[in-house]
Symmetry: C2
Subunit: 390 residues, 2 copies
């Protein structure tokens, strides 16, 4: 019933009964329980009376909301998404986290989260989900972040919860590329139920959705696209290996290759990102050549991903969304040449409308989605009401 209400069209009780196969009486009882729990709101005061002209139902924006915090290499972000799926607060801040101890970065991220919470005083935030640029195991521990030295074997979500001084009913941490892919699925509604969302930041990540759900691979760690080798003679990567994709197509490598300031501190990298896009749009030859090389390398790595995993659709996100006009042709060429099934099942290639904000948006929406999927687990009192009301 909650799933039907969460759809885009504000159904009435009668419409829900039609779609779910439940009787109108049962639907009405269940809706009353959901309204009582504060999860659903009805469009007119006749709610609860069966048989009257139906009142349109919607998720209640005063219901449990989610706080998403992203700690990336060169910025932090915090976003609050309410139960109806609307963004209620958004903050982000540039700073180079490679130059700071993890504890200080966590303090800054917590301060940003607190600002977001304080911006929406009336909203009850039920959960916190954190996006990080590294390998996160199925218990939510960050095992390693190649671009953030010193971040190893850390329960980032619990560290932030402690700093915020709040107990969240839901607490999670995941790889930023995974959360960006979920945001793509939930907010951008791509045509295909199988896709890979590519997060182009300083690191290059891939979040893979198969049959509408996140696919984490056999080990649960997800797909590390940025460390696919694209050139055996390439430069040394932060992970220790040579010739990884990130060293050709990551944001910092792009800024350097396009003639921007090398090794810029974080606050400059935000400007360098804008400068890179500006130079590309102005047709600067050095910048366009660097982006062409990056597109070819990204295409080769994505072809390996498609040949190995078999996803049918690729969505370019993060900084690649802004740079798409200058790289997408080379990416498409490499896919056309390298993907073995291309002749009869060409891979579709698109650009994310979400850009850099995808990961923190996916994080903020994660607690809300968990509650929608299993409301009784989070609001056990509904069971009692249900037994009485139904």
């Amino acid at each position: 019933v909650l799933g039907a209400i969460a759809g885009p069209d504000r159904p009435t009780r009668a419409q829900i009964a039609g779609r779910t196969g439940l009787t109108k009486t049962t639907v009405s009882s269940l809706v009353d329980v959901l309204v009582g729990a504060g999860l659903v709101s009805a469009g007119d005061p006749d709610r609860g009376l069966v048989g009257r002209p139906g009142s349109p139902l919607d998720l209640d924006p005063r219901g449990p909301a989610g706080l998403g915090v992203e700690i990336n290499v060169d910025y932090c972000a915090a976003t609050i998404v309410d139960f109806a799926g609307q963004v209620r607060a958004e903050w982000s801040e540039a700073s180079d986290h490679r130059r700071l101890p993890p504890g200080e970065v966590l303090d800054r991220a917590a301060a940003l989260g607190r600002r977001a919470l304080e911006a929406v005083p009336g909203v009850a935030v039920a959960g916190l989900a954190v996006a990080v640029p590294g390998l996160v195991d199925l218990d939510g521990r960050l095992r390693r972040a190649p671009n953030l030295p010193g971040w190893e074997d850390l329960d980032v979500a619990r560290e932030l919860e402690a700093r915020l001084g709040t107990d969240f009913a839901l607490l999670e941490c995941d790889n930023e590329a995974n959360l960006a892919a979920l945001a793509e699925r939930w907010f951008a509604e791509p045509a295909s139920r199988d896709f890979v969302h590519v997060s182009g930041e300083i690191g290059v990540g891939a979040g893979i959705v198969v049959n509408g759900a996140l696919w984490r691979g056999a080990s649960g760690l997800g797909a590390e696209l940025g460390h696919v080798m694209v050139d055996p003679g390439g430069p040394r990567c932060t992970c220790g290996a040579r010739g990884c994709l990130e060293q050709v197509a990551g944001l910092e490598a792009l800024v350097r290759a396009a003639g921007g300031p090398a090794g810029a501190p974080g606050s400059d990298l935000g400007r360098a990102r804008e400068e890179l896009v500006r130079r590309a749009r102005s047709g600067d030859p050095e910048t366009l050549a660097a982006l062409g090389r990056a597109g070819a390398a990204l295409g080769a790595a994505l072809a390996a991903l498609v040949n190995l995993i078999g996803v049918s659709s690729i969505i370019l996100g993060g900084v690649y969304a802004d740079l798409a006009p200058f790289i997408i042709g080379r990416v498409a060429d490499e896919l056309g040449e390298r993907v073995l099934s291309h002749a009869w099942a060409p891979v579709t290639l698109g650009v994310s409308p979400l850009g850099q904000g995808a990961a923190v948006l996916g994080a903020a929406a994660t607690p809300v989605r968990r509650i929608l999927a299993d409301p009784v687990a989070w609001f056990p009192e509904m069971l009692t009401v249900s037994a009485v009301g139904g």
Copy 2:
């Protein structure tokens, strides 16, 4: 019950009852049905009597057998595996299939299959499974075989069935690397339930087993390891792209790089394979250098596979099984350097005991395994007997 009998220890009816939680009476009835269907044989004449000292049960080698046929680039093979899992006939023949029209290769493969069938006149063969070096869709159609020009969009299993003039109850076709991985799982019993079996032939394939079952990826086409790019400036591949793994680490590339005869016809390639192994064992510097480069490229491609898919164990098969002493060190070095989770979850690396025969063995065992998994689907008369007997 059939699953318990298929185990390695020849259990009695009482032991099966203990393991399955069924009553001894039920187990006895079911065993009688299986014996009646010719799938199970009992070790002494007291079968069917409950309470007596148990007679050990085993799969009946006179039960339905499987015919496996492999059509690879430079050889054909045919194998028959009986219902008890024993190889009853094995034939193989070298010939370069790139120089023959597909129809003639199918004739030769059918002739080999017929010889295998004629070698075991008393055995009832219930199914045919075919291994091919290309992309096979979920309907069993070969869509494309980069190393076999002209083999496109072909129902190879049905072509062979027609040539053999037999109707098989089970008819399948799959990628040779997938069937080799299944043979590894069924006959070599690797320690890990998650592994990738690498088939080193003229093409380089990967069969991935996750949680004990074949993993075919989101598209169902499986993992095309041989076409992962390992060198952007590398030679042109048969697939049309540049720098694919096969062009450095495939058998023909190895023979060429080690100073063997380039472009040898198939009958010579069998000898060239032996010559390659002989030269490596004798310490020929040119051969060892070529194998070192192949090992590094194979390791980089496998690291991409592990970083993207997350399997925990790699088994080198095909010609790599013979060449393992000369390549495994470089493969391990690349994995150690490139796999991001290596520090806390190192990938294990082993060698298949099955060698080149893995794919056709997996093919021959496939029909038998299908019947073991769902005997009633293939012997519906058992249901009637069961209703009467139970």
